[in-house]
Amino acid sequence: MVAETPVNTDWKIEDGVVVENGVVGPENGDIGRVVIEAPGVVAAARPGHFVMLRTWEGEPFLPRAMAPLSYDVASGRMEIFYRIKGPGTRAIARTHPGEIARVTGPLGRPVVEDFEGRRVALVGRGVGITPLLPLAEHIVAKGGEVRAYLSARTRDYVFGHDRFAALGPVRVRVDDEDGDEALVTDALARECEGYRVDAVYGCGSWRLTRAAEALGVSHGFPSYVFLESKMGCGVGYCKGCPARLRNGDGYKLVCVEGPVFPTREVELSDPVHGPPE
């Protein structure tokens, strides 16, 4: 279990400030967007990184793991989309501009592949779209090409659409217009014919990531997944965020050995709801 590369200990704890916070889309929706100014963490963040966030004192006891959509070094701000579903995200939703947001980060292992001349497909759904944008920006900055395949319940939740579109072609499938049987990876499947893809990264949907992986297998490119997990600490201390390895070969920790893994290493199924149907 000794890591092949050193565990990331280059994180800091920073008292950031909430700059903007509100619900995205319909007013009674369950997706929030918060902008936090935390220049130290923002300056150090790389694609693949995540942060632990706590905007409250007292309860709930633990901070929450979040993968920002963007880090803006000039303003020192990060933009986070979060699904409001438990006491932690409800507490974030109650936060007002000017209040303190304690941020620990950047955490995890960044994506450090060489992207020059590489053509990368990004497949994301819902809040799982967000960690793909820093990666997309990085790939383009390094001389690669990106195509984004984005899926969501409604158009309101295709986060960062225009910013992906500024970097390369974007395909979108939304449940309320296209039906939830239409997989955005069908578009990727079509485009794989006649367009060389060198790698695919998936996040936010087991179904889509499995479909992307299958395309990778048939067309001979590697696939990667950004995993989410319940976490105690986010920094490698608690061992509470195992990713199940394929072939029953034990676990890796999402926080310090991930959050990005080659799909051939980890099981692509929800730990709560069990293996894929």
């Binding site: 279990m1 000794v2 565990v7 200990t9 706590r54 309860e59 709930p60 006891f61 676990y251 709801h273």
Partner: protein, 310 residues
């Protein structure tokens, strides 16, 4: 005058009374800028087992009111890889190193302690007699006889100080404490997590992969305090108090109840700088009260009320 933070836990001399609880801090060869293991009273490793084991399936953690449940299940590289790859990294650290040991039988305990005794940088061992998350069934520390057998085996195999970590999931903690004291434990560590469970309404199943887990955090502090208090009266060996300590005031409460040192666990997950803050807070409190050393506070509860002029 600066108050003396140093404390003794049996034969172990600590520069201050605050250390991480096993499995809640890890030395990766270096620390982040804002955390320094060199400031700790001691460093305690994650429990090591004789043979490698993977730990429990997800979900391993669940938040609760004022704390959390964990069912980590002690992922371990096994004692041999631990000695070769993990322990040498601890040579860089200044505080005493306490290796936490999880043995499934007295024989395993004996062989692990024999190996650890040969190591120059092991200053003490903590016997984890009380992990509630293992598939093997019994918690050793639920039986005075099993606990005594394990500690006796350890005692026969090493001259290192032995700290026995006990379980709160018992009817009479003092009975277990006396049993391990009798066979040569140098200190007690009180308490491990309290057995608990979470249920997921959506799946209608136990939330944790191992079904039940161990409750930690501020929620269990009163339980831990009462067990420290009780054992202080029942045994002569020193006590390391642990359970829900998140602030210097919490730590002081444990010292007053009879602990000579404390461990901080779950609070580190919320705030990785917790240990440093607690150490500083204790020092500040001693100075404010005009005390010369931590030792003056230990067990004060048992001496009766502090009255003006006393």
């Amino acid at each position: 005058m600066k108050a003396e933070l140093a404390t003794d836990v049996g034969p172990l001399r600590l520069k201050n009374p605050v250390m991480p609880a096993s499995g809640t801090y890890d030395w990766f060869g270096r620390d982040p800028e804002q955390v320094s293991a060199d400031s700790f009273g001691a460093v305690v490793t994650k429990s090591v087992t004789l043979r490698p084991q993977a730990g429990n399936p997800p979900i391993r953690v669940a938040e609760t009111p004022s704390g959390m449940l964990n069912a980590i299940g002690i992922p371990s590289v096994g004692i041999e890889e631990f000695l070769e790859e993990v322990l040498p990294q601890y040579h860089a650290l200044d505080p005493p190193v306490i290796v936490s040991v999880q043995a499934y039988s007295p024989r395993e305990c004996e062989s692990m302690l024999a190996r650890l005794s040969e190591q120059p940088r092991v200053d003490a061992v903590e016997l984890n007699l009380s992990c509630p998350n293992l598939a093997h069934g019994t918690i050793t520390a639920q039986s005075a006889r099993l606990s005594a057998e394990m500690v006796a085996a350890a005692r026969g195999a090493t001259r290192l100080p032995i700290v026995a970590k006990l379980s709160p999931n018992v009817t009479d903690i003092a009975e277990i404490a006396r049993a391990v004291e009798e066979v040569g434990a140098d200190a007690l560590c009180l308490i491990n997590t309290v057995k608990g469970m979470a249920v997921d309404v959506e799946t209608r199943q136990a939330l944790l992969g191992n079904r039940s887990g161990g409750l930690s955090g501020p929620a269990i502090k009163p339980i831990a305090l009462s067990m420290v208090w009780e054992c202080y009266q029942e045994v002569d060996i020193p006590i390391v108090g642990v359970g829900g300590i998140a602030t210097a005031e919490d730590a002081l409460q444990f010292l007053l109840a009879g602990a000579r040192a404390v461990q901080v666990g779950t609070a580190t997950f919320r705030e990785p700088r917790s240990l440093a803050r607690i150490i500083a807070g204790i020092e500040e409190h001693l100075a404010q009260d005009g005390l010369h050393s931590v030792g003056e506070l230990v067990g004060w509860c048992h001496k009766g009320r502090l009255t003006v002029g006393s």
